[in-house]
C-alpha cells in the first residue's frame, strides 16, 4: 500500500485477507474492543485504512470461530460495557504464519516493482 499515491487515497478497502492479519496484530499487544481495534488500525496506518464496522464485526465472528480469538464482555475505561477480544494461542501462531506470508509476498512484489522501474 502506497500511502503517497493520490489514487489510493480514496481506496480504504483492505486487500483481501489483510484485515484478519491486522486484527490479529493489533490484538497481539493487548485485548481490545471493536472500536478500539478499528481506531488503532486507522491511527497506525495514518488514516490509510478506514475500517468498515460491518466487515470488522464479521471478521471477529470468523476469527472467533476459527479459534484465534476469545471474546468477553467487560467494562471499558470510560465505564461502558464492550466486547473485548483477545488473542488465543492458536491466534498467535496464525499471526506468525500470516506475517511471514505477507512479508514474503510484499518483498516479492517490491522486487518486481524495482525491476519494472
Amino acid at each position: 500500500m502506497n500511502a503517497e499515491s493520490p489514487k489510493n487515497e480514496a481506496n480504504t478497502d483492505l486487500i483481501q485477507g489483510t484485515l484478519d492479519m491486522l486484527i490479529l496484530k493489533t490484538l497481539s499487544l493487548e485485548p481490545m474492543h471493536g472500536f478500539g481495534i478499528a481506531r488503532r488500525i486507522e491511527q497506525i496506518s495514518r488514516g490509510v485504512f478506514k475500517i468498515n464496522p460491518g466487515s470488522l464485526l464479521t471478521a471477529f465472528q470468523r476469527l472467533e470461530r476459527m479459534g484465534w480469538l476469545d471474546a468477553e464482555w467487560r467494562e471499558t475505561d470510560n465505564s461502558r460495557r464492550a466486547k473485548f477480544y483477545s488473542l488465543t494461542r492458536a491466534g498467535k501462531k496464525q499471526l506468525e504464519i500470516e506475517t511471514a506470508g505477507w512479508n514474503r509476498r510484499a518483498s516479492a512484489i517490491a522486487r518486481l516493482l524495482r525491476e519494472e522501474a
Binding site: 474492543h33 471493536g34 464496522p53 465472528q61 470468523r62 470461530r65 476459527m66 464492550a82 466486547k83
Partner: protein, 893 residues
C-alpha cells in the same frame, strides 16, 4: 479448518437465533457508543458526537445484517424457510399432494419389497465363513441321459483322499427319524452327513463336539447332534443334554452336540444331524445316493476344481469295485463329468430368474410413477410461471428457483419413500408369512437398515428425477416473455406441451412393456392350468406319511400287512371313498434307477435311468389318475410276489410305441434280476412340477422280490380321497386309525394334494399377480397422462378452436384433431414400448410356459388395449372442445 467452534457456534445460533441477534445488536450499539465517546473527546457535544459516529458507521441495521449473514447456519435457515414454503404450498393442494405421494409410495414400496427378496435371496452370501468357496459337487452323465447327477460315497472317499483343489468335501442327504422314547411318537426331520460336514461349512457347534471320523464308521456308538430349536423344545435348553440317550426308530443315539441357533442349511428343516456311516471296504462304485459339497482351497477357481474332479473320476473307478449286478463298463459308458456349481446357485435355483423379472417389473412401475409425478409437477410449475418469472426478474438466481422446485419434489418423494418403506415392510411380512412367492432362504428376507437406506436413496433419486422436469423448464428460462404474455398462452407454450407429451409417451412405452409381460404371464398361467398333472380333484386328496421302523416290525411282508391294515382302517373313516399308498407323492421327491426292457436294447448298451415309484393296489383311482391300458395291481399280486409292474404312458411309448403294445412285455431293475410283466399303463404324471415335462416312471408293487429277498417300503405316503380333505378333524381320525393298528407311529407331512399342486404353481401365480397389478396401474397412469395432456391442449387452444368453429369447421373435425394428437403421443410410446418389450421379455423366457417371449398375439392384444385406451382418453376432452361457444372463446382470454 472447519473446526469444532464453527459447528458449536452455528448450532447455538440455530437453537436461539434471538439471543445471537441480541448479542450482535449489543456489540454494534457498543461500537457506536465508543465511537461517540471518541468524538466527544475531540470536543463535540454528546448529540453532535452521536450523529458524527452514526454518520461514520452508516446504518446500524445494515451492519447488523452484514454480521448476521456470516456463518453456515444461515444457509440452513434459508433452506428451512424454503422447506416451510414448499410444505405450505403442498398442504394448500392436499389432493395433488396425496395423489403424488401415494403414487411414489406405491412405486418405492413395491421396489423396496422386491429388492428385499433379491437382497436376501440372491445377493446375500450364505451364512458361513468364506461362503463363496463352497461348491456343490454336481456331476453330469450324458452316457445314461442324466443331466444332473449327485454324489456317490465312492467319489466322496476319492475326492477326500486325492483332491488338490478342495480343502474338505462332505456328503449329506435328507433324513428323518421317529423319536420313540417321548410321550407321543414324533417324526422329526434332519440330515445325515459325513463326519467333516460342519468343518467344511466352517460352522462350530454351540455346545458339545462335532462329528469325528470315528462317528462315520459302522459298528461304533451311534451319535447325534441336535438343532437349537429341537434342543430348546425337547430338552428345555438343558446344557446337561450332552451324553443323554435318545431313541430314534428304536435304536439309541447319544447326544454329542447342539447346533448354533442361526444354523441353516440348504433350506432344509433340520431338528437332528446324524453321521452317515460307511464301511470303506464295502463301498461300491456306482451308488449315487447323496448330495455333496466341498470347500475350495483359497485362490482355487471353479474351473480348477472342475478340472481336478475330472482328473479324479478315473481314479475312483480304479479304487472302487463296480456294484454287483451292474455292468463293469457302466461307469465309463455313463461318461460322468463334473458340473460343479456355487452352493448358493444350487440353493437359489430357478427362483433367480423369477426374482429378476419381478425386480424389473417394479422398477418399470417406479419409472412410470416418476414420469407421472413429473408430469403433475410440470402442470403445477406451469400454474406458477408468473410468480417464478416475477421472482427471476427481481433477481432470484436460477439455483434458488431450482432449489425451491426441487425441494417440493424431494418433499413429496421423501413422504412417498417413508410411506413406501411402511408398505414394503407390510408386503415383506405378508409374503414371508403367506409363502406366496415360495422361495428358498425365505427366513433371510427382512426389512433391515440397509434396505431402509436403499428406500431413502430411491426416494431422493426419484424426487430429483421428477423434480428436474420443471427445473429444466423454469429455472433458466427467458422470463421476459413469460411476463409479457401476462398469463396468456402464446406460441412459447409449445415447448411446455412437448415436454409433457414426451413424458406421456414414455409412460405409454413402459406401460406396454408391463402389459405385454402380464399378457405373457396370463397365457403361461392358462397353459399351466390346462396341463393334466396326472392326478385330479387334488383338493379332495389328503396325504400323510408314516414310517415303520425295523426295530418294531422286522420282515417286509409284516410291514406291508401292517400298512394294509392301516389303509383299511383309513378307508373305514366316514367320508373317505378311497385310500392307497405310494413311496413318493407327486412332485415330492423321487428316486431313479436303471430300467431294463426285454426286447428293447438301448444305444450304447447302458439302460436308461427312469423314475421308480412303489404303489399299493388302488393307487391309480385314489390319486385320480387313469389306467390307459391293462389292469391295476391286486393285494394278491403283492403277497404272492407276482412278477408284475406298471409303467407310465410315455415309458410305454418310448419302449413299445403304444400303451397297448406294452401290456405283457417285460421289464426289470437290474441285468440279472427276474423279468417282470407289464400289466398296466398309467397316465403320465408331471412329477417334476407342472411346468416340467412328465418323467417316465415305473410303478413297482409295494412288496416285491427284486433279488433273492423281499423288498418292502417302510416309509409310505397315504393318499386319502375324501371331500373332508384338509380338515383337522380328518387328520385326527386318521391319527386314531393309525394308532388303532400301532400306537407308536407318528403322522408326518400332513397336507392336501392341492397344496402340492398350488406350490408348483405358486411362483407363476405370484409373478402373474404382481405383473397384472403393475400392468393395470401402468395402464391407468398412462390413460390419465394422455387425458391430462389433451385436456391441457384443449384448454390452451380454446381460442383457436373458437376461430375454427366460427369459420365453419365441423365439430367432428375438431374432435379428430385432438384425438389424433393423443394417438400420436400413444403411438410414439407404443413404438418405443414394442422395442423395449421385445428386448425385456427375453428376461422372462425361463418363467414362461407354453408361450414364447415374442408371442405376436400378446403384443397385438396389449398394443390394441393401449391404443383403445388412448383413443378414449383423448376423445373425452377432445369432445368437450366442440362444445366451445366461438363467441365466448374469442372473448375469453
Amino acid at each position: 479448518m472447519f473446526g469444532w467452534r464453527h459447528i458449536s457456534r452455528g448450532v447455538r445460533v440455530l437453537i436461539d437465533r434471538k439471543a445471537a441477534d441480541r448479542e450482535i445488536a449489543d456489540e454494534v450499539e457498543s461500537f457506536l457508543e465508543q465511537a461517540t465517546a471518541a468524538w466527544m473527546e475531540r470536543g463535540l457535544n454528546p448529540e453532535e458526537a452521536r450523529r458524527a459516529a452514526r454518520l461514520e458507521m452508516g446504518s446500524p441495521t445494515a451492519v447488523r445484517e452484514q454480521v448476521r449473514e456470516y456463518g453456515w447456519e444461515n444457509s440452513i435457515d434459508t433452506l428451512f424457510a424454503d422447506l416451510r414454503h414448499a410444505m405450505r404450498r403442498l398442504t394448500r393442494t392436499p389432493s395433488f399432494t396425496a395423489a403424488t405421494v401415494l403414487t411414489v409410495a406405491l412405486g418405492i414400496g413395491a421396489t423396496t419389497a422386491i429388492f428385499s427378496a433379491v437382497a436376501g435371496v440372491l445377493l446375500k452370501p450364505l451364512p458361513y465363513p468364506h461362503a463363496d468357496r463352497l461348491v456343490a459337487l454336481v456331476h453330469t452323465a450324458p452316457g445314461i441321459g442324466i443331466k444332473e447327477m449327485n454324489m456317490a460315497p465312492s467319489l466322496y472317499f476319492t475326492y477326500s483322499e486325492e483332491s488338490r483343489a478342495f480343502q474338505a468335501v462332505s456328503l449329506w442327504e435328507i433324513d428323518s427319524w421317529t423319536v420313540t422314547d417321548l410321550a407321543e411318537p414324533e417324526r422329526v426331520p434332519g440330515i445325515s452327513v459325513s463326519p467333516e460336514f460342519l468343518q467344511t461349512l466352517g460352522v462350530p457347534v454351540a455346545l458339545g463336539r462335532g462329528f469325528t471320523s470315528a462317528d462315520g464308521i459302522p459298528g461304533g456308538e451311534r451319535v447325534i447332534i441336535l438343532s437349537d430349536s429341537f434342543w430348546k423344545a425337547r430338552f428345555g435348553g438343558d446344557r446337561s443334554v450332552l451324553g443323554r440317550q435318545v431313541r430314534l426308530g428304536g435304536s439309541g443315539f447319544t447326544v454329542i452336540g447342539v447346533l448354533p441357533a442361526a444354523f441353516r442349511f440348504m433350506d432344509q428343516p433340520i431338528s437332528l444331524v446324524a453321521p452317515l456311516r460307511f464301511n470303506r471296504a464295502e463301498v461300491p462304485l456306482f451308488q449315487f445316493c447323496c448330495q455333496g459339497f466341498g470347500r475350495l482351497k483359497p485362490g482355487i477357481t471353479l474351473v480348477d476344481a472342475n478340472a481336478d474332479v475330472a482328473r479324479m473320476l478315473p481314479i475312483a473307478a480304479a479304487k472302487f469295485p463296480m456294484n454287483s449286478g451292474l455292468s463293469r463298463t457302466l461307469f465309463e459308458d455313463a461318461r460322468i463329468a463334473p458340473r460343479l456349481r456355487p452352493m448358493k446357485d444350487v440353493l437359489v435355483g430357478s427362483v433367480r430368474s423369477t426374482l429378476w423379472v419381478l425386480m424389473a417389473t417394479v422398477g418399470i412401475l417406479l419409472a412410470i410413477a416418476c414420469a407421472n409425478v413429473a408430469n403433475l409437477m410440470l402442470v403445477r410449475a406451469d400454474a406458477r410461471r408468473q410468480e417464478l418469472a416475477t421472482r427471476a426478474a427481481l433477481g432470484a438466481g436460477a439455483w434458488r428457483i431450482a432449489r425451491e422446485l426441487l425441494l417440493e419434489s424431494v418433499l413429496i418423494s421423501c413422504a412417498g419413500g417413508a410411506l413406501g418403506a411402511a408398505i414394503a415392510a407390510g408386503a415383506v411380512r405378508w409374503f414371508t408369512a403367506s409363502a406366496a412367492l415360495h422361495v428358498p432362504r425365505m427366513e433371510e428376507i427382512s426389512i433391515n437398515p440397509a434396505l431402509l437406506v436403499f428406500a431413502a436413496c430411491l426416494s431422493l433419486a426419484t424426487g430429483l428425477l421428477f423434480g428436474l422436469a420443471p427445473v429444466h423448464r423454469y429455472a433458466r428460462l427467458s422470463f421476459s416473455m413469460e411476463l409479457r404474455s401476462g398469463g396468456r398462452f402464446l406460441t412459447g407454450s409449445g415447448a411446455r406441451l412437448r415436454a409433457r407429451g414426451i413424458l406421456v409417451s414414455a409412460q405409454v412405452a413402459l406401460a406396454l412393456v408391463l402389459l405385454v409381460g402380464s399378457g405373457l404371464m396370463i397365457r403361461t398361467a392358462l397353459a399351466l392350468h390346462r396341463v393334466d398333472p396326472g392326478f385330479s380333484s387334488a383338493a379332495d386328496v389328503q396325504t400323510v406319511r408314516i414310517s415303520i421302523p425295523s426295530t418294531q416290525v422286522k420282515d417286509p411282508e409284516s410291514v406291508t400287512r401292517m400298512e394294509e391294515e392301516i389303509q383299511r382302517k383309513i378307508e373305514a373313516i366316514p367320508g373317505v371313498s378311497k385310500a392307497a399308498m405310494v413311496s413318493w407323492l407327486p412332485m415330492d421327491g423321487s428316486s431313479s434307477d436303471p430300467v431294463y426292457a426285454e426286447d428293447w436294447s438301448p444305444q450304447g448298451g447302458t439302460p436308461p435311468i427312469r423314475r421308480f415309484k412303489f404303489i399299493s393296489p388302488g393307487y391309480v383311482p385314489a390319486i385320480g389318475s387313469r389306467l390307459i391300458a391293462g389292469r391295476d395291481l391286486t393285494w394278491a399280486d403283492l403277497y404272492n410276489r407276482a412278477p408284475v409292474a406298471l409303467i407310465s404312458e410315455n415309458l410305454a411309448r418310448e419302449f413299445w410305441r403304444s400303451p397297448e403294445a406294452a401290456i405283457g412285455k417285460h421289464v426289470r431293475p437290474g441285468p440279472t434280476t427276474a423279468w417282470r410283466q407289464v400289466i398296466g399303463v398309467i397316465a403320465d404324471l408331471r412329477d417334476d412340477g407342472i411346468d416340467r415335462p412328465a418323467p417316465a416312471i415305473v410303478y413297482w408293487p409295494l412288496l416285491l422280490k427284486f433279488g433273492s429277498s423281499d423288498t418292502g417300503n417302510r416309509n409310505v405316503a397315504y393318499v386319502v380321497r375324501t371331500s373332508r380333505a384338509g380338515s383337522t378333524a380328518l387328520t385326527q381320525e386318521i391319527r386314531q386309525a393309525v394308532a388303532a393298528v400301532n400306537a407308536s407311529l407318528p403322522l408326518a407331512d400332513v397336507k392336501t394334494l392341492q397344496s402340492v399342486y398350488e406350490r408348483s404353481l405358486a411362483r407363476t401365480s405370484f409373478t402373474l399377480m404382481l405383473l397384472a397389478i403393475a400392468g393395470g396401474m401402468a395402464l391407468i397412469l398412462g390413460v390419465v397422462g394422455i387425458y391430462g395432456t389433451i385436456s391441457f391442449s384443449v384448454a390452451q387452444r380454446t381460442r383457436e378452436v373458437g376461430i375454427r368453429l366460427a369459420l365453419g369447421s365441423p365439430p367432428s373435425e375438431v374432435t379428430a384433431m385432438f384425438v389424433r394428437q393423443g394417438l400420436a403421443e400413444a403411438c410414439a410410446g407404443l413404438a418405443c414400448g414394442l422395442a423395449a418389450a421385445f428386448a425385456l421379455t427375453r428376461l422372462m423366457e425361463s418363467v414362461l410356459y407354453g408361450v414364447s417371449p415374442g408371442d405376436p398375439a400378446t403384443y397385438l392384444a396389449a398394443s390394441a388395449a393401449l391404443v383403445a385406451a388412448a383413443a378414449l382418453a383423448s376423445y373425452l376432452p377432445a369432445h368437450r372442445a366442440t362444445r366451445i361457444n366461438p363467441v365466448e372463446a374469442l372473448r375469453a382470454e
